[in-house]
């Protein structure tokens, strides 16, 4: 990361940037870096590098210290998600019921790595740790929709629904 924070003119659209500055102003007051990062991710859908620099400059701390917190938490992502963000639960209950196989199958089908996005921006794939829907294991979610008791042969059908 460079330390040219003050020269950053824009991160996303003007509305998004305005929202970010408003959120920082509203939450400013120490101890709020995690909350500000959460707000930024909500605004942009991920954390663009430039947004970290804006936050650093507004809070008057080094970009490195913002980066250090942002990389610590798995909630924060530095690349955009796909139109359909797939999340496969690899919690214990799902894992013992074969979630690992489902995950590798989707990975293979989409040709993406963990946390990756397809070239056309349609799908992104993540593994997550327990959605608390263990009664339906194995579970995956696509955006807000949860699919329970998934079997490998259902995957094609589930992916086809995303159009």
């Amino acid at each position: 990361m460079s330390s040219k924070a003050c020269t950053i003119a824009s991160v996303g659209t003007p509305e998004q940037d305005k929202k970010l500055r408003e959120s920082i102003a509203a939450l400013h007051g120490g101890h709020s870096l995690v909350q500000i990062l959460q707000a930024a991710q909500e605004i942009y859908g991920y954390l663009p590098e430039a947004s970290l620099e804006v936050i650093a400059s507004e809070l008057d701390i080094s970009p490195e210290s913002v980066y250090s917190v942002a990389t610590f938490y798995s909630q924060f992502t530095f690349s955009p998600k796909g139109k359909y963000a797939i999340s496969v639960c690899l919690g214990t209950a799902c894992y013992v019921k074969g979630a690992g196989e489902i995950y590798s199958k989707i990975k293979e089908k989409l040709g993406v790595e963990d946390g990756g996005c397809t070239a056309d921006g349609k799908f992104s794939l993540d593994a997550c740790r327990c959605m608390g829907a263990c009664g339906l294991a194995p579970v995956l979610s696509i955006n807000e929709d949860v699919y329970g008791k998934v079997t490998p042969d259902q995957i094609d059908g589930i992916l086809k629904k995303c159009d």
Binding site: H31, Q38, S68, Q75, M131, G132
Partner: protein, 595 residues
């Protein structure tokens, strides 16, 4: 006049299988049938029997409808609510008798349960403070504010014998006593709702089903230690819980049960929410404090303990959700009532999230001292598909795998520790003969390696070395000495890691080495995975008797490892085979074996 209530489960499991839609459908169908004023639909918290979700219960009859689909709503409304005829095909079979419905408490799943922490889940509408109040809500807070001195409250909790339900099992009253003894001034009450153990979801269910009880408990704790502010640190992955907490806080403030001068007592207390950002280590209390302060969730060395120097450097108590859920009930019913349940050193009840290879997956709350066998075979309904029980895992990534020979031990903190596992937060995952214990140990280490914060070397480097050895073992490349190195590393890391995450990370390996050594040996010495899970140790063969030579497998094989003429048996070239299993998936004649 409302004559019937329809309770639709709004817990995570049922929500995921579409209970929201059921709720709106019921509303519209009832309106269409002209029953809008007579029948009330309520979205509740979790009933516990998630395996049969979505769950709908109709009162006053107590009809427990399971696996209700959108297409069933109309039938329930027209048959049950208009004509008074039960929809038998949807009733939970165990509650169906000749011509009446049996009480839920008589079913195998509920009979041995005792709901204390979960008492309001699946009973009240969590988004309505009046329903909580109608079930004695905020009575305990009123009692402590009007009848008890702070030291009486601490004494009551101490006498109850309540221990932390988040995993550590530290006596709650002792924590409170330490914090109360600190000089008056700014102090904090934190609720640890960063439920990170994959496979445990009781805290989520309490927050979703009974959020006010947590607010009430935090206010009681605040009064006991002299704090006027509290924080709930809750996972961002729990959107429903967060939403209901926000509603609950707003309602409590509006009615004067949070804020300044509560119930005219001169006691001030308010609560804020902080969202976790996805880091397992933040369930560790000092890491959680750092995270609330907006920093990386690195654990802090102890001492100083949080009770002395915690959040923002002030005395702080951190209690888990389930622990707090017990507090109002202890205050109202007395320490003796609570201490009468459970075993000598573990009082009260414990909620377990029963999952994995078990028929009745869901949430169960049992008195401490219930045996694992009762939980798995009676409440849980045993293993599906006639498979054989292999192990039950408790305590998540910090716990261990318990084999069949220990199923008759009464569950409490000390007994589980003695057999190499821990109580943990209450995840209980059942495994059958198809699960490979080496693979499970590897699974947990992948988790802890991922979640290690990197602050101390034993955890950051040590666990990674352990994982590498397990990867060698599951790939068939290990030598017998590797097992000794693995075990040595376990003990070293247990003794030297900075926080609970590192100190307990070796537990899944140690317990599987202790009880399933033969599986490790099979992997290392015979290069064989007895459960048929570890891919690199499997070999695929085609049964020439069953193969019709349809060529489908050969066409699906990504490495062209399968050859053969049309309509003649095919063969797999094991040198080329990458063991992906595509051939098995494509074969229509079950002619391919994996061993």
């Amino acid at each position: 006049m409302v004559r019937s209530h329809i309770l639709v489960c709004g817990g995570t499991g049922c929500h995921s299988s579409g209970s929201d839609k059921l709720y709106t459908l019921f509303e519209s169908e009832l309106a269409a049938a002209g029953l809008g004023d007579e029948v009330k639909v309520i979205k509740t918290g979790c009933f516990g029997l998630c395996a049969l979700g979505p769950v709908v219960v109709v009162y006053p009859e107590g009809a427990f409808y399971s696996q209700v689909g959108a297409e069933d709503v109309k039938e329930i409304v027209t048959e049950h609510l208009l004509k008074g005829r039960l929809v038998k095909r949807l009733l939970y079979t165990e509650t169906v008798a000749e011509d009446t419905i049996l009480s839920l408490d008589s079913t195998d799943f509920y009979r041995k349960q005792k709901r204390v922490a979960l008492q309001n889940c699946g009973v009240i509408d969590p988004e309505d403070i009046n329903e909580y109040v109608a079930y004695d809500g905020y009575m305990a807070l009123a009692k402590v504010l009007t009848e008890m001195k702070p030291e009486d409250v601490v004494a009551e909790i101490l006498n109850s014998g309540l221990r932390g339900r988040g995993g550590g099992g530290f006596p709650t009253g002792t924590k409170w006593k330490f914090a109360a003894a600190q000089p008056a001034g700014e102090k904090y009450v934190c609720c640890n709702a960063d439920e990170g153990d994959p496979g445990a979801f009781m805290d989520r269910s309490v927050l979703e089903g009974d959020p006010h009880c947590i607010l009430e408990a935090m206010a009681i704790a605040g009064y006991a230690i002299g704090a006027s502010h509290g924080y709930i640190y809750v996972r961002a992955e729990y959107p429903i819980a967060v939403k209901r907490l926000r509603i609950a806080i707003a309602q409590a403030r509006e009615t004067g049960l949070l804020g300044g001068n509560i119930l005219g007592s001169g006691f001030d207390f308010d609560v804020d929410i902080r969202l976790g950002a996805g880091a397992f280590v933040c369930g560790e209390e000092t890491a959680l404090l750092n995270s609330i302060e907006g920093r990386r969730g690195d654990p802090r060395p102890r001492p100083p303990f949080p009770a002395v120097k915690g959040l923002f450097g002030k005395p702080t108590i951190i209690n888990n959700v389930e622990t707090l859920a017990n507090i109002p009930r202890i205050i109202l019913n007395g320490a003796d009532w609570f201490a009468a349940m459970g075993t000598e050193k573990s009082k009260g009840t414990k909620v377990f999230a029963l999952g994995g290879k078990i028929n009745h997956t869901g949430l169960v709350e049992i008195p401490m001292g219930t045996t694992l066998r009762e939980i798995i075979e009676e409440i849980g309904g045993g293993i599906p598909d006639g498979k054989k029980f292999k192990a039950v895992q408790t305590g998540g990534p910090s716990g261990g795998c318990i084999p069949a020979q220990h199923l008759d031990i009464p569950v409490d903190y000390d007994n589980l520790t003695a057999i190499g596992s821990i109580m943990g937060s209450g995840g209980m995952i059942v495994m059958d003969e198809d699960n490979c214990m080496v693979d499970i140990a590897k699974f947990f280490l992948e988790f802890t390696v991922d979640e290690s914060c990197g602050k101390c070397t034993p955890c950051r480097v040590g666990i990674r070395r352990m994982l590498e050895i397990l990867e060698k073992i599951t790939a068939g490349q290990a030598v017998p000495e590797d097992l000794d190195t693995l075990e040595g590393l376990c003990y070293f890391i247990k003794e030297n890691a900075l926080c609970g995450l590192g100190q307990t990370a070796p537990n899944p390996v140690l317990s599987t080495l202790r009880y399933f050594r033969d599986e490790y040996d099979a992997h290392v010495r015979e290069k064989r995975c007895p459960a048929g899970v570890c891919k690199k140790l499997l070999s695929y063969t085609i049964d020439p008797e069953k193969c019709r030579g349809c060529t489908l497998c050969a066409r699906n094989c990504p490495t062209n490892a399968i050859s053969g003429e049309l309509k003649k048996p095919h063969v797999i070239d094991t040198a080329k085979c990458i063991k992906c299993g595509a051939c098995i998936d494509s074969c229509k004649f079950a002619a391919i074996y994996r061993r």
